[in-house]
Point group: C2
Chain length 229, copies 2
Amino acid sequence: MKHADIRALTFDVFGTTVDWRGTIAREGRRLGAAKGLQVDWEAVADRWSRKYVVARSRNGPWRPLDQILHAAGEEILEEFRIQGLTKAERESWCGLWSRLDPWPDALPGLKRLKARFLLAALSNANMALSIALARHANLPWDQVLGPDTVQVFKPSPRVYCMALRRLGLEGHEVMMVAAHLFDLEAAKAMGFRTAFVSRPGEEAGDPTKAPYVDLIAADFQDLALQLSR
Amino acid sequence: MKHADIRALTFDVFGTTVDWRGTIAREGRRLGAAKGLQVDWEAVADRWSRKYVVARSRNGPWRPLDQILHAAGEEILEEFRIQGLTKAERESWCGLWSRLDPWPDALPGLKRLKARFLLAALSNANMALSIALARHANLPWDQVLGPDTVQVFKPSPRVYCMALRRLGLEGHEVMMVAAHLFDLEAAKAMGFRTAFVSRPGEEAGDPTKAPYVDLIAADFQDLALQLSR
């Protein structure tokens, strides 16, 4: 594949750029140690993410993801019997998705990619959440794109169309980077180039068998290397 | 004035954050020296800016500012008899507004402000131009807002309304920062807080007599100081 006409990369964030499962489990273990709780924190993380996926797929009025995740965080505390938290600790817990840590290769990879490409977040997070996360993790986005104006979630084609309009670019000038095949399939349907990045636990399917995947990278550093050729 | 509920600052860019006149004059003198041209480069800069202001005020279909400035740059070359440029040099000249330098206080001031506030560009530049300029000048915006979707220019109230929608904030939570009174007057009409920043040659009016100006700062460092109180 030729990369010469790619001008911008759009990145999925949760799972692809930041490690939600690892951060939640780590934060949970810290909390558990302080409060003397015995909890399977990886299960907590997966359950929290699952609640978001269900909310995304549900019909009904669109809601900003930070609200969905906050409400789900409250439910998680009940379901896993995580008790003894102060009001401030509960609030901090429910806002944890705005303080997720990047995968170790993410920042150096993005720095290299930024020298050549415009970098945009294209997450299902509403813009306020995406910006908070970028500030926390120092993600060097040139632009933060969010579903706020179209009020639908990926993989709706309207999200990818919004991104092209905002960037003022054609699909073949933009590469979607994600650790999830459904995201890349939908981007490709709108004419994007696509790069799959392997992240532990994110994707059960086989990217080598997906005809809509243009490039497969081990991580963001490897993506920068492959796109520099 | 209480600043406690301000969560975001929106910045005018041309004249307020970057020094278009100084950069164009400097670049012009460099070009003039190389080509043996005698040209009043400050007059060139003012004429170029004037053409944009006229285009902004004209009725008719909205056009992205980078296109307006590019076409005006071509006209400037004819009007001031700037000749002997290669095609690449003409192209570089016409794109000069994407390579303007920040005022000396801008980057340190923004860095201080970013510790406390969300920072967004709210320029009449279309987003592609604003992003190019941010990359050139290392402007640490959390978000770049542009008139692309509303397809009107400041001071149309629709631009400020778009900014509030995108930021998900109320007017009193956002402060518009500009070196031009018309910008602050229009922002105030949509409920924004307003900060006037003095920049040489940008504003003929008297900000101390403007009832819609909440704060007057000498530069971005002074703005950071005043907002930290």
